[in-house]
Symmetry: C2
């Protein structure tokens, strides 16, 4: 039998002390502390009574857009969506932006902070072509053994407005993209039925799941949402669609919102929120009560759109808790689930969790409870991803 790595005396989710045995990149066993004995040839890590958590999951980011590791980007952009899209396009052309380099710097930062699975959206448009996909795919290949990355082919400028975009997405889905993205079928594409039909046709052709950015407000967003759910049902996409942002769910009258959430749950469509402090958000408790998978992510991190965001998913969990006014310990643990188990379920990351047979993605921090880890965001004392120990200065 190959030698194992043991983490001795750690407390999963703050519970009783256990010993974790990792073998061949997998959690071989989790047993009460002292029940089993490592072999002489095994590696032993002292868990020191620390809080043991599963590796974190970033459910929605844009590794390709970040300025992480570069000089500070001075933001002087206008307030409208089109200002930001145009500004970014200009910045890319002028800055010699390299999606491989940018994404690798940020992916490494995520890893060092305990994030072992990432869903990242890469811009596909008629200016950038497939350059971002290729760059991020290079990062994925370079880190394949330690980072589980899903790439979403994301039409940042819409799918109907720029001829050629559909063909680029088609190529992207043949060339390494795992998920098909989409964006505001009404507000950006101006033709929600056509836009959604194109998206679902492409996803069907390539047998890929869908992750759509839906910023559309109130009744417009709900209208588009219903059109989307019609297609989920008609085309058998249950369990394979994420709706990101879904601001509209925070803006509808109670009855309309409630009915929509019921339908979202029934069709097993998942919701992603960044928990933005300044706009409406889907109702956390109501969505969970309805049985909807609701998970979290940063969206962009320090890019031309926003100076904010962090590769520390405990910080995102904190922001989620603050946005939804979650204060109790059990509620903070639910916020943590948004960047761990719920995100793994929503994105479909396999073999996730603190249990025998799961991929060995483990994090240790100095905290008594999950709630404390969310509120304090303590330094990562130990990170393991896919069975590999990730030191604090890990690079590649």
């Amino acid at each position: 039998m190959k030698p194992a790595i043991w983490i001795i005396g750690a407390r999963p989710f703050g519970g009783d002390s256990v010993d974790v045995c990792v073998r061949a990149r997998t959690i071989d066993s989790i047993a009460p502390h002292g029940e089993k004995t490592p072999a002489a040839s095994d590696t032993v890590v002292d868990g020191a009574g620390m809080l043991l958590l599963p590796g974190f999951v970033e459910g929605h980011t844009h590794l390709d857009k970040t300025t992480w590791g570069m000089p500070w980007y001075r933001n002087a952009v206008g307030p409208r969506l089109v200002d930001r899209i145009e500004n970014e396009r200009r910045w890319r052309a002028e800055s010699g932006h390299d999606a491989a380099e940018a994404s690798r710097a940020l992916a490494l930062a995520f890893l060092r902070q305990g994030t072992t699975r990432i869903r990242t959206h890469v811009d596909i448009d008629t200016d950038a072509g497939l350059r971002h996909l290729e760059g991020v795919a290079a990062t994925r290949a370079a880190l394949a053994d330690v980072l589980d990355m899903q790439i979403v082919a994301f039409p940042q400028s819409g799918v109907t407005t720029r001829p050629g975009t559909r063909e680029l997405l088609d190529t992207a889905l043949r060339s390494g993209a795992d998920v098909l993205g989409a964006l505001d079928p009404a507000a950006i594409d101006g033709d929600p039925a056509l836009s959604l039909d194109i998206t679902f046709a492409l996803a069907t052709k390539h047998d890929k799941p869908i992750d759509i950015h839906l910023h559309e407000p109130g009744d417009l967003g709900a209208f588009t949402f219903d059109l989307l759910l019609d297609r989920v049902k008609a085309l058998g996409f249950e369990g394979r669609v994420v709706v990101s942002h879904a601001f509209c769910l925070g803006q509808l009258p109670d009855a309309r919102r409630h009915a929509l959430l019921e339908r979202i749950a029934r069709l097993n469509v998942a919701l992603l929120t960044t928990a933005p402090a300044s706009v409406a958000v889907p109702p956390f408790r109501e969505a969970r009560a309805a049985g909807v998978t609701l998970f979290g992510g940063n969206d962009g991190i320090r890019d031309t759109w926003t100076p904010f965001g962090s590769p520390d998913m405990l910080e995102r969990a904190m922001l989620i808790a603050m946005r939804f006014d979650l204060r109790r310990d059990d509620d903070l643990a639910a916020a943590f689930a948004c960047v761990s188990s719920e995100a793994a379920r929503g994105c479909g990351f396999a073999d996730y969790g603190l249990a025998a047979g799961m991929r060995a993605d483990l994090v240790l921090v100095d905290a008594e409870t999950v709630a404390q880890a969310v509120a304090m965001r303590p330094a990562r004392r130990f990170v393991m991803s896919n069975g590999t120990i990730i030191p604090a200065d890990f690079t590649r």
Copy 2:
């Protein structure tokens, strides 16, 4: 002349490099880098091109309530205001809570992170009596040379409902409290005119400013606000009243809100916001455009009310920026002003700022601009408070 301390080659607010000379706890001069020469007996600190900021200002916290430095408090309290007040009262009785010890631990954490001025509210009620005031006053005395602290005598359980509270506030204002606090004259006291009359009479008697917690929503909050402004005008309290929270300003129809903000500006009443992500907030840009002083604070930090909050005021500035959707560099600098110059103005802290003649409260961080410091919250590389260098492990 007494020896000076020089900070050589730092960039105030990200501008051109300067040399700062500190003498007798005061900024003696700020001159272009290299223009002046320290004496041989002076102490010289290498600014290394770092960002130079004034010491930060915490505009609203509760040092007496914190569990900072204690074992993690497991929060299982109910959601209503009265649940939280009763839960806290019970916890205090059972935990052997010591306001001096708690406040000192947190005040030291603030100092190490570059906060040199703090306005803290201390609970005054018929259970606690003046115990919290005495505890926090002991911390203030212990740190008097390095921390500029204002103590607000705060009737956490209201001023009319518990007989004896008014007398306790009266004693508190005679015994070290700098500011008179108040709380929801309608929603808590049930008699807004009487409650405000008691508050203004006490403040007039002791010639003290007022800081009122106003959580009352929408039209009720606006009604109370107008009653308060009537008294500001009638009794000459212009420039001496802070309204904390003021959620109602984020919930009123445009015309009502606009008229109220104009009146607030005219009577020179300042607003404090913690920029909570889950409730309405005063409109940032509109308040500033109207000429209202709007500043920031944590409110409680890791206490029985909330697991959140941090003695890092750069984090509070970030949360303010996120809440008000401030993304541009100039907007992030405005968020920083909320925890520096605006807070000093709102609270009336004297001799504040990066200019000759001001108190020597200085912070150096590794950042190019103020915006970067807000977004990244880099470690404090140098802190000086009232002319004293505060090492990273400062304690007392």
